[in-house]
Amino acid sequence: MRAAASPALLEVRGLRVSFRTDRGVVRAVDGVDFDLRAGEVLALVGESGSGKTATALALLGLNRGPNAEIDGSARIGGAELIGAPEEELRRVRGGQVGFVFQDAMTAFNPVYRVGAQIVEAIRAHRPESGREEARARAVELLDAVGIPDPERAADAYPHELSGGMRQRALIAMALAPEPEALIADEPTTALDVTVQAQILRLLARLNRERQLATLLITHDLGVVAETADRVAVMRDGRVVEAGLVEEVFRRPRDPYTRALLAAVPRLDRPLARRARARGDGPLLEVEGLVKHFPLRAGALGGREAGRVRAVDGIGLRIGAGEALGLVGESGSGKTTACRAILRLVEPDAGSIRFDGVELTALPQRRLRALRAQMQMVFQDPWSSLNPRHRVGRIVAAPLRVHGVASGRELRRRVDELLETVGLSPADRDRFPHEFSGGQRQRIGIARALALRPRLVVCDEPVSALDVSIQAQIVALLGELRERLGLAYLFVAHDIAVVREVCDRIAVMRAGRMVEEGEAERVCAAPREEYTQRLIASVPVPEPRAGRAGPV
């Protein structure tokens, strides 16, 4: 390969990172070696907890601390970084190595304008450049990363930009002091598939144009296949397999790599279709559902300046035991639709019939009783569980609220529920923070199942999870559906995941239904251009398959 000829910009040898915690020493990184050359993209892949982020942070000494122990060697242009004094590292940080973090919303300081934060990065490394000059450079960079109105973006606060634009601005900030290398830590994980595709193309272009050495950290093998030249697969702090992307993907040697590859949901993978459970007649019928949010303006906020048409007249039907997938980008109104259907927000118009009962006119008391049959699983397994309650109490809550069980019977039911979702009754007395993301989502599912619902609304239940964990949760949902005869309204932005779970797929855009049909048909032969674009954006773990242009 072209890249192999040039000497490595960054050489990492025997890198080890361990942290002292209350429960003993945790070895986050356990002897990692790799080289990174100018003009190439090296992907560091693994699940959360595999040590990939700890590796990247250790290179720049960003996880130094009284409880951290970092040794081994990392040289950039021959200069040793591990153990280097802070003053020296400070010049490398940003100056030689730019860092792009996962969530641009939290990576920017919310109280400063975007432009000012980029200017700060420039002036940290070029104190001689004036404010005006640095500002002009910031605008130029915002333009270079494809932000339409860079002057305005520079004057905006981070929360005033969309997620994709914010991520672009974060990349612009990392490029500002003209580094030789870029470390991108899950740069697209918080984004929609369509936006993700744009950001990945941007990173590939910058890498090419600026001859950057890029270290891409991700858990998504589809992303690796579309962006990287070489890949290193990490597990438990070690690199289990490394090589050219084509070779590793075509002939994975390590069983763990093979398992990871198999976990990626793919649109071209044949599905073991479950026999579809058919009840008599529809369980949920929604017609002409509308939910608008007014935009307030005027000095006292009294005047209505406009409306966000979050849900703008949608209809859908779910039969008993059937799974319907609702797909669309963020902002398309999927979540609002779910909430309006459960009347967690009051719909403005339309009819919602559950098992023949019209929900929109139902008094609160009767609605509460009916809600026992319609439960919800939320997206974020971190914020949807009360951190101060033990798991047993969380799972028991619906049973208590509805007065279904108490005492020993309650305990028995909770144990049963935990076992149903693949946890152990002993987990009852632990707190949510003691569990991994996937386990937490299982707790959320157990809570949703507590009242033996007939319909479960899953709002992006796997989008916050690693690919391999995603596959486990998807499998669990499929199995539960079969065993308990559940119907799902399954919301996700990733159409490949939806296809694995659902019988039918409905595509939403800007508050309206764009397309609806059998899952296989929608994925194989989408009729609408928008659906086609959604499908094209799904990263495919097939080297070069989706890659735009020559490298």
Binding site: L60, L62, E86, R90, R91, V92, R93, G94, G95, F99, F101, D103, T106, A107, F108, N109, P110, V111, E120, A121, A124, H125, D155, A156, Y157, H159, E160, L170, M173, P177, R296, G298, A299, L300, G301
Partner: protein
């Protein structure tokens, strides 16, 4: 963006007027309507003559309907036409006389308590869990628990009366002698500041520890900023915002006469002491006026602080927006 701040400020100022109106109605109801008996008799003092009571009744219009009574009260307060029936002194004049003294106390103490609280909060947050942190944490608890009258009396006795370093009490106007002004206020400032330093330094410590763990601080370090700049521009700048809100309430309360004990112990003759003396004599007109005056300062300062907060943190301008 500038427009959103102006809109926010206008909304806040409008709601401030509403709150001030509500407070004045509340004061009127509490003083003149709720208590049983004749308000004119209560105002007149311990042994009034029939003629005095009649005069007061006529002056305040206590025979008029309630809304008219309210308007009369507000007119008298706003035009400075309220007289104490004990001392025959004009109440508004007395408050204005006490204001520079109270203001001197409040500003000096606030400077001391904010400076020390920031220094201690930052120091203990960066050494969280260490010996210094634990010692200072214990000390902060002691500071919060010390009764002001006890600490004030102690300082005044030992450093003032016994050692003769500081004057034991009294007030010298700033315009007369700045040095004497400060000299006379050192002990009151210290006494008042101690409690606030305890509370503020601990709150700030907790917020700084939280901010240090946030993503944008890691970004700031990854940009290659100096640790000093990271701490001042990205940690303290953000952590001071909630403290600012609290400060608005406390500073307003002290200005409105809330530092009664400190003012009395050091005989500063400020608004708080005036209120205390009037309460002691059950002299209603001054108590009423000071109550309204105090509420006014708290509401106004709180509004100004909210607007400042919105200027410093753009997310606050969004209706219902949260800080994180």
């Amino acid at each position: 963006m500038g427009g959103s701040l102006a809109r926010f400020a206008l909304r806040r100022l409008a709601s401030m007027l509403l709150v001030l109106f509500a407070v004045s109605v509340l004061v009127f109801v509490i003083f003149n309507v709720l208590p049983a008996g004749d308000p004119a008799v209560r105002m007149a003092g311990k042994v009034p003559t029939e003629a005095q009571v009649e005069a007061i009744r006529a002056e305040w219009g206590f025979d008029d309907p309630l809304p008219v009574q309210y308007l009369t009260m507000m007119r008298k307060l706003l035009t400075g036409d309220v007289v104490s029936y004990f001392t025959q002194q004009n109440v508004v004049d007395e408050i204005l006389k006490g204001l520079p003294r109270t203001l001197s106390l409040a500003v000096g103490a606030a400077v001391i308590w904010m400076a020390l609280a920031i220094a201690l909060g930052l120091y203990t947050a960066l050494r969280a869990g260490g010996v210094a942190d634990r010692l200072l944490g214990a000390l902060a608890l002691v500071g919060v628990s010390l009764p002001v009258f006890w600490l004030g009396a102690l300082l005044s006795h030992y450093l003032g009366y016994r050692a003769g370093i500081f004057p034991g009490g009294g007030y010298v106007p700033l315009t007369e002698s700045p040095l004497q002004w400060a000299w006379h206020l050192v002990l009151p400032w210290t006494t008042l500041a101690v409690v606030f330093i305890g509370v503020y330094s601990r709150l700030l410590r907790a917020d700084i520890i939280e901010t240090l763990g946030e993503g944008h601080v890691r970004t700031a370090r990854a940009k290659g900023l100096s640790e000093r700049r990271v701490l001042t521009h990205h940690v303290l700048r953000n952590s001071l915002l909630p403290i600012l809100t609290l400060w608005g309430l406390d500073f307003g309360a002290v200005l409105g006469g809330g530092a009664i004990l400190t003012e009395t112990v050091f005989d500063l003759q400020g608004v708080g002491q005036y209120a205390a003396d009037s309460i002691g004599q059950l002299d209603l007109p001054p108590v009423m006026a000071v109550t309204l005056f105090g509420a006014f300062f708290i509401v106004v300062l709180n509004t100004l602080v909210e607007i400042a907060h919105a200027a410093l943190d753009p997310r606050v301008r969004l209706e219902g927006g949260s800080r994180r």
